[in-house]
Symmetry: C2
Subunit: 119 residues, 2 copies
């Protein structure tokens, strides 16, 4: 009898129809949400083995280590997985801004009605 | 000339080919990642108007207010959006556990190699 994913003590990631799961990165100290990206099986394995966040770039169609060009590597301090094992939470120590705009976090704007406020 | 989504001061959510975006919920005080879900346009509008996290359930194919049966409503303290406006971060005050297992967060297991540890 198989143990369901939400009660299991074994890693058994559930990839979607595109072979991907969602990765959520927060700052290991401040707790701030930094970015969201996607991982295929290889990206997840690489991340867990190397301790550096590695994703699957859907636009580029290839593995993409965060910081491979910018140097803004995200070192994994802790990795957790959700109940149905289709989402991974990485608490990371960032070597630089998470966002391509240069902001520390991709979530640099607050929603106020239909306005976005930078605060 | 249109301002690109990552520089705009106007909410202009980018829904995927299924009409959905990702919503990330964290506890407004502890910063803990509670859960991930999806929103269509109506779910996002309902969330922002009502101040209570409402999603689109892909399995049920309908709008789903978190806590509609359990009572574990997630009150939105702050809503933020990421650079390309395809992901929303909600800082919430939960009225109860986020996870269907009864855990405070869906991310109740840490990944240690191929083992999942509850800590």
């Amino acid at each position: 009898m198989n143990v369901p994913r939400d009660a299991s003590s074994t890693l058994d990631p559930k990839f979607d129809s595109n072979g991907l799961l969602t990765a959520v990165l927060t700052h290991h100290q401040s707790g701030a949400l930094l970015m969201i990206a996607h991982m295929n099986e290889e990206a997840l394995a690489t991340t867990l083995e190397s301790g550096e966040a590695t994703f699957f770039s859907r636009s580029r169609g290839r593995l993409w280590k965060k910081g491979e060009t910018s140097g803004h590597v995200m070192r994994v301090v802790e990795a957790r997985i959700d109940c149905d094992q289709d989402c991974v939470w990485l608490k990371v120590e960032p070597a630089g801004p998470a966002c391509h705009t240069g902001a520390d976090t991709c979530f640099f704007r607050r929603i106020d009605g239909t306005t976005l406020v930078r605060d």
